[in-house]
């Protein structure tokens, strides 16, 4: 589904992505872990199209999308959520998701009809909100939602664009244990229906959910394999998991 070949990105003297080659199969949940500063968000930004790599290629569905800008990749079915919550605070939860539906539906030069009363937008938007468990909060402005709810809203917006693949950048960032558990449940529900690339700090969540794990350290892939293989990989333990109890 998504593939990178020899991806390379540097910021001045810092090599943020060091010849990364990944291959993510359709339907799998592929997690990327690594310590802070390993280049996880930089990698996602290149996959989503926000950053241009200095070398290498990104292939989506076998098609070279390296030069394709963000909005075209999104339209092609590559949806992302942001590590820093990035919703539209004055809009209601429903309006936020309806906007995502609209992006996917592709008819935005409609000047007359009230978008908030357009069932073709609000119908799918409500479904996405129900799926992530925000249904009862649909009419609350996003700025009044809790942190955890806004993370859920992020996911709902990504889902509403009708994606074929989700790039989730630390969906559990800043969540409490209860909220985190809810998010794990949600991801488990989505798993199998979507191809998912998950960047996450929460090791318990990653090992519980992932089909495949890639470990990134200093911009380079040091190991890739099933959760069991990663758990027992001596290099991973030394480089990264050392202090964690896995």
């Amino acid at each position: 589904m998504l593939e990178t070949r020899d991806l390379y990105k540097r910021f001045g003297g810092l090599v943020a992505t060091n010849h990364v080659s990944l291959s993510i199969e359709a339907g799998e949940l592929h997690a990327i872990i690594g310590p802070n500063g390993a280049g996880k968000t930089t990698l996602i930004a290149q996959l989503a199209g926000e950053l241009r790599p200095d070398g290498g290629a990104v292939l989506f569905d076998g098609r070279d999308v390296t030069a394709l800008p963000v909005q075209h990749r999104a339209a092609a079915g590559l949806a992302r959520s942001f590590q820093i919550t990035s919703v539209f605070p004055p809009f209601t939860a429903l309006a936020n998701v309806a906007l995502a539906v609209q992006a996917h539906a592709g008819h935005s030069f409609r000047f007359w009809r009230d978008a908030a009363r357009d069932g073709r937008l609000t119908g799918p938007a409500r479904q996405a909100l129900d799926l992530v468990g925000l249904g009862p909060r649909a009419d609350v402005p996003a700025e009044l939602l809790s942190h955890g709810e806004r993370r859920q809203l992020e996911i709902a917006m990504a889902l509403a664009t009708g994606p074929r693949m989700l790039l989730l950048d630390e969906p559990m960032a800043g969540m409490g244990p209860a909220e985190g558990a809810g998010m794990v449940e949600l991801l488990r529900k989505l798993k199998g229906h979507y191809t998912i690339l998950l960047v996450e700090h929460d090791m318990d969540a990653v090992f519980a959910l992932a089909d495949w794990i890639t470990v990134l350290v200093n911009g380079a892939v040091i190991a890739t394999g099933t959760p069991d293989e990663i758990r027992s990989d001596p290099e991973v333990r030394r480089a990264y998991l050392g202090e964690e109890t896995v």
Binding site: P69, A74, Q102, S108
Partner: protein
């Protein structure tokens, strides 16, 4: 579905209806207290209110701080002025490839003023909207200044002195714009229709893209939108509204001059929008009223009346995010 029955919206609806009733009754009220010149003053308020509403469409909803909006007003005014001048002069506007004579027919001239405003907005917006923030402000200002000096350079049409109109636009035999009450109601009708159109627009799918781009353009792209085209379209619609207000302004003053395009005028329009309430559509009309009434009331006392305006504006900006309209109509839900 979002219902518009919450308290804030009821209060806003009430405020709009009362305001509209007052505006409709104004000529009678002015007549009753024997101050007929209020009709003329409020005609100006409606016309500049129209320009301010058009600016609010891009500034308040799109986050596009156009510091050259008076240029579009001026273009609309010059369309009326130039075509009227040719009627008076008896010479055609152009003879090749087709002969175009001057005209004072409002049904021709006013739409043409809006169209020219839109065309100039298309050209200026296409370039300016490639930038944001301070650059956008400066580029729109630069374009407006170019048009300002271009107008000064129009020797045929009075150059710096502008054109005095000998006639107002004609709207058929039953509507006489020389009658100040008739002209007032024509301006009021146009303003009401324009505000209504903008209101629909800002709530449509198109409007949601423009508003979303103001809040977080990066997120809009991540969702798959290309907001540039939507912002440009809003800019063009705004230019059309400003051009139309220019046509009305020319008729109100029976004069057209380069001063209509000066950067001070652009600044005043921004002041009206901010004072009245950004992103409210009704607020800019209130802002225009507050601005012109302050000017009217204080100009008698001192020519430095803006010494008072300054602190008032500061007070509004600091204490009321939605301007005067926020006080009147309450903190309405912005998601609507």
């Amino acid at each position: 579905m979002l219902e518009r029955t919450n308290e804030g919206n009821k209060r806003e609806t009430a405020a709009v209806l009362i305001g509209l009733a007052l505006l409709v009754a104004l000529p009678f009220l002015a007549d009753a207290i024997g101050k007929g010149f209020y009709v003329t003053l409020f005609t100006r308020i409606l016309i500049l209110g129209l320009a301010a509403v058009s600016l609010d469409l891009i500034l308040g909803y799109g986050g596009m701080v156009s510091f050259g909006h008076a240029a579009f007003v001026g273009i609309g005014a010059y369309v009326v002025g130039i075509l009227s001048w040719h009627v008076f002069d008896g010479s055609p506007l152009m003879t090749w490839p087709v002969v175009i004579e001057g005209t004072e027919n409002g049904f021709v001239v006013w739409p043409l003023a809006a169209l020219m405003g839109a065309l100039f907005a298309l050209a200026i917006g296409a370039i300016s909207l490639r930038t944001t923030g301070i650059s956008f402000i400066m580029i729109t200002l630069a374009f407006a200044q170019m048009l300002f000096y271009l107008a000064i350079g129009l020797r045929t049409y009075g150059g710096e002195d502008g054109i005095a109109l000998y006639n107002k636009s004609g709207l058929g035999s039953s509507i006489d714009l020389f009658d100040k009450t008739t002209f007032y109601y024509v301006c009021l009708a146009i303003l009401v229709v324009f505000v209504w159109l903008c209101r629909r627009l800002t709530r449509s799918r198109f409007g949601m893209v423009v508003r979303g781009a103001r809040i977080n353009e990066r997120r809009m792209r991540a969702l798959g939108f290309s907001p540039y085209r939507h912002k440009l379209t809003a800019f063009v619609i705004s230019g059309a509204g400003a051009g139309l207000s220019g046509a009305l302004l020319a008729n109100a003053a029976e004069f057209v001059g380069p001063a209509y395009m000066s950067w001070q005028r652009s600044g005043e329009l921004i002041v009206m929008v901010v004072l009245g309430g950004m992103g409210t559509l009704f607020g800019p009309v209130v802002g225009a009223a507050a601005f012109l009434l302050l000017e009217e009331g204080l100009a008698d006392l001192t020519e430095h009346w803006q010494i008072v305006l300054g602190p008032v504006l500061l007070f509004v900006v600091v204490f009321a995010r939605r301007g005067i309209w926020g006080w009147i109509a309450g903190p309405a839900r912005e998601d609507r």
